[in-house]
Amino acid sequence: MKHLKTPLGDEILDLKAGEVVTLSGVVYTARDEAHIKILESGFPFDPKGAVLYHCGPVIQDNQIVVAGPTTSARMNNLTGFMLDSGVRGLVGKGGMSSKVRDELKGKAVYFAFTGGCANLAAARMTLTGVHYADLGMAEAVWEIKLDKLPLTVAMDAHGGDLFAVVEEHAHEVFQGMYPTSTTEI
């Protein structure tokens, strides 16, 4: 298993969709509002080699209570600029569109983190800072240090997309089980 550290460099170009890895080092949380704010006002951190985590954590007394992944597809149309600016990794749940799959090519990868695993995430994290705090707890850009968070490379930098492969296979199996021509009355 590969153990990756941020900031990420060209080592991510060797990753293949379906690989299980761990990620350590600083990542930045960013949901819808943070993406829009960054587009308007610029990055509050160096985007070169940076990793964005699609997550709205619950923070209490400067501690991370829970910090599971949110649905990445909401950021489908806000991601191109991030990747053009040097972001090399995205972490979230559920995968992203074919447009993002193309935008990742030669630049960056998308990692899936297990949905609902808010405690596992929090146990492997230390809060190190916050940017755009005025966006509120869920939408602010939290700077979080990861300690070997287990992730799956779901979309690689060469067009590989595990979610798309699985979905296509599921549709084929379903067609085999229930051919459209049959009526089962």
Binding site: V20, F113, T114, G115, C117, P150, V166, Y178, I185
Partner: protein
């Protein structure tokens, strides 16, 4: 029949509700944990193995940290059983809501309940005629909480079938999961309601999620196997287990109707029951 409205009983109802919410949010039921452990044992895909290992580690950590399993702490759907010697009252329903408000403050829970149109949050997980409190006769006075998250609720489905389409029920169930894909955070449990009226079918499907998942009828098992053959796997990343269990509940229906509802439940199939001392 006695009407119990003295403050002590109402307080005990509030306390029992609060305890049931806490237990449900933090501790996953043993039968669900066993199904997840079994899924990890038989899984052949390394990616799916990692996803299931993450889920099982998260379950242990929630217990250790006394924190909710998932940040979507859901809408707490309430089921009450009440012995025939007791009459259910509006004050008792209010006591249940008070228990939910206390749990929301103390655990704490994410306030999830909003007005459907202006989206204003009530901040208490109560109000606006919610959450539902289903009351049924029973031998003991119990309060059961089923916290239901939105990810799996949003991809649930209902169909008013023709009575002649009985044979298409399994196809509809499997197709509902095919369309849902990885979005409901599989491995899932599928609650199926067949019969009743439009609303009863959906209610039955949710009630089916209260059933233990350690056993299935041959028919439930067959549908579960079909869903697993889709290979959607944990989180939609592929794998042998997409569905931990299918549970079906039925009720009578109009001779011209065949309502079928599928309520999808994520792996965090939370439920807890606490008895109210009388």
């Amino acid at each position: 029949m006695s009407v119990l409205s003295d403050p002590d009983v109402l307080q005990r109802i509030s306390d029992a509700t609060c305890t049931a919410v806490r237990d449900a949010e933090i501790f996953l039921p043993g039968d669900v944990k066993d199904r997840l452990k079994h899924a990890l044992e038989v899984e052949s895909s390394p990616v799916a193995k990692q996803e299931l290992a993450n889920i099982l580690e998260n379950i242990c950590l929630a217990e250790e940290r006394s924190a909710p399993l998932c940040q979507d702490t859901g809408i707490p759907v309430i089921y009450v059983t009440i012995p025939s010697s007791v009459a259910w009252s509006g004050e008792m329903e209010e006591a249940v809501y008070e228990g939910i408000r206390t749990a929301t403050r103390e655990i704490p829970l994410r306030p999830n309940l909003v007005d459907p149109l202006n989206r204003e949050n009530t901040q208490t997980n109560t109000g606006l005629s919610m959450p539902p409190v289903h009351v049924k006769a029973g031998d003991r006075f119990t309060i059961t909480v089923l916290p239901k998250g939105a990810g799996s609720e949003n991809v649930s489905d209902i169909r008013m079938m023709n009575p002649s389409e009985k044979g298409l029920i399994p196809k509809f169930i499997v197709e509902t999961m095919l369309t849902a894909g990885g979005r409901p955070c599989p491995p899932v449990i599928l609650g199926v309601g067949i019969g009743g009226t439009f609303d009863i079918a959906a209610s039955l499907a949710k009630e089916a999620l209260l059933e233990p998942v350690d056993a299935m009828s041959p028919c439930e098992q067959e549908i579960c196997d079909q869903v697993n053959r889709l290979g959607i796997g944990p989180m939609g990343l592929g794998g042998d287990t997409t569905c931990l269990a299918v549970k079906v509940k039925t009720a009578g229906c109009h001779t011209a109707s065949l309502p079928v509802a599928v309520n999808i439940q994520c792996w965090a199939a939370r439920r807890a029951t606490v008895e109210v001392a009388l």
